[in-house]
Symmetry: C2
Subunit: 345 residues, 2 copies
DNA sequence: ATGAAAGCGCTAACAG
DNA sequence: CTGTTAGCGCTTTCAT
């Protein structure tokens, strides 16, 4: 009662149940490989003594942690924090715990965060995007840790990649915007350095513009941080630049929502004076006014497939093939269909 | 090259550096307790062999996992996912990894999630709120796992609690609303069962109304799920009930934002026809139109303090005193100041 | 089906 | 300051 009583171990349980340590162990992990009577004796002892398994010891002996790490660029974007949810649920069903890291879009920090995660012991690693510091790949390979990259299938040949083509998706929404009669187009995305998603989204936008023979003014090619403020800043720059385009195509919903907000503050009517589109389709995109026209990313689907895939790779049964999912355009009020007259002016 | 080469262990490193296992271990964990020359020999060996510490073995031997678990009711509310961020950053600085669980406001599921986390091995546990299944407290105490409750200081005497008084905060915003001339008040909150925050927020609202001698119609006392849809549903019910109040006070921003959206769909002008207030002050509350009048919760501050506190408790130096932080009202356009005439009508 | 024994890779006394 | 020696609590052969 007073002495610091040691935690009860499997050995204690075994003694009480009158079986060997090995048998007790088997009773817990493979109940069907033990006589029913023995099983009951062990289970009773477990209950009576309030035994709880020591996962650390299990992991050391079995060389399996039942833990998977995921490293996000940020958790501030609801896109990623919702992804945690899907991932976590799916992994839990397969008996895995999810450990999370983030690095605020800093590749060097990503290396550190990942190292800490890997050292602490995980059976597999999930990365966002395909553009990472060499040290990341080196560490993962040296240490022979199974890993997979999600969200983007661009710019890589690695087989274990699950996501979508950012370039194509961006191309798609840009074409859509052009089809609505827009010719004066501004682009606003996040930093492209060390981020193939940003890069490919921009490339996709530009592909569509080029195809339609539309050139973008340099001042209308904007790069700001991944945040509401980034979007607000973009609008300020547009205003400073003098002439307003008829539409601003954004690389993320965060940009777009911030931009719309700034338009409201600055008295620019959306979409009458300026149309705005996003990318991601976070929940708030549909709850605001005007509703945001954007690209829906199969976030939940990615989470489910990624969970399944990383477990498969861990068990050495992963298919060596990238999985490319579909995106689709969601039309709401923030994008205006220009009449011919307006298109010109 | 071809055989599955075993991972290099500390023992390998020690041999190569010509020191004993113990010395190598000390070199890594207490570099200053080792002669400089020895340290260098070990470090060189580490680099040459690409050694990475095995955290699992460390944990078993030292009985320390350097991991802290946090269990959220949901990750879908940006409030909580942003909290992950603060917590994680602060813990990382102190050398701890964060492991996350969630249960979608289901107390029985919380028990299971927590058990998995505790079994897998954590040095401490962070819970949201004070209302949990008995099994939770029982498990934590039996297993002698340090824990702490955050977000709410209501309905508990447990010393390790960091958050704010939901009742007081709710009372505050309700008084504010009343001071703006509102007398026809509807309330919309989340389910109160197993959730002392919901319960205390509602109680706080009612305290203020009672004090002002305002009675709430039963149909105006609404309880819907914690989601945008929950807010939308509340508005639909108000419409069905016939007469509209002049304001609806919401228990979370999610409710409020959903409600405002539904008003827009249903042609109810906010705030001219109906004022709406929220609770939490998530980022989107300020980026929408009309901006949401709400209660700012010191989410980041909580994260920082909680991280500090759980580590202190783990190290047996936690102050046995709850920490109550301040909230404050953020005024935006969704709450209208009623003129005397309107107040009556 | 069960028991015995050998680690998993590291930390933590304790000697020297 | 360094080496030696026990474990940490469990899984896993291998016999029986």
């Amino acid at each position: 009662m007073n002495l610091k009583k040691k935690r009860v171990t499997l050995e204690d349980v075994a003694k009480r149940a009158n079986v060997s340590l090995g048998t007790a162990s088997k009773a817990l992990s493979s109940p069907n490989k033990v006589r029913e009577k023995t099983l009951k004796r062990v289970m009773d002892a477990v209950d009576e003594m309030g035994y709880v398994r020591n996962g650390v010891a299990r992991s050391l002996a079995s060389r399996k942690t039942w833990r998977v790490a995921v490293v996000y660029p940020t958790l501030k974007n609801p896109m990623f924090s919702n992804s945690i949810d899907s991932l976590q649920q799916s992994l839990l069903e397969m008996g895995y715990q999810l450990v999370i890291g983030s690095h605020e879009y800093n590749q060097k920090r990503e290396v550190k965060v990942l190292r800490a995660l890997v050292e602490s012991g995980v059976d597999g690693v999930i990365l966002v995007g395909t553009d990472h510091d060499d040290a990341v790949f080196h560490m993962l390979e040296t240490y022979e840790t199974p890993y997979l990259m999600m969200w983007s299938t661009d710019e890589t040949n690695y087989p274990h990649t699950i996501g979508f083509s950012n370039r194509q998706a961006a191309y798609g929404i840009a074409r859509h915007v052009i089809a609505k009669g827009h010719r004066k187009v501004a682009l606003c995305g996040g930093p492209v350095e060390g981020n193939e998603r940003s890069r490919q989204r921009r490339a996709g936008f530009l592909d569509a513009l080029k195809e339609a023979n539309i050139s973008v003014k340099p001042q209308w090619l904007i790069e700001t941080p991944f945040s509401l403020d980034g979007g607000r800043e973009a609008i300020m720059r547009l205003i400073e630049a003098g002439e307003l385009p008829t539409v601003m195509v954004c690389g993320t919903d965060l940009h777009a929502i911030g931009a719309i907000h700034q338009c409201q503050l600055s008295g620019i009517h959306v979409p009458d004076r300026l149309s705005i589109t996003g990318f991601d389709d976070i929940e708030f995109a549909s709850a605001m006014s005007p509703g945001l026209t954007t690209v829906r990313v199969p976030m939940h689907h990615i989470g489910v497939e990624v969970a399944r895939a990383i477990v498969a790779i861990i068990n050495d049964e992963g298919s060596a093939e990238a999985l490319e999912l579909e995106t689709r355009i969601v039309e709401r009020e923030s994008l205006k269909h220009l009449k011919d007259g307006e298109a010109a002016g």
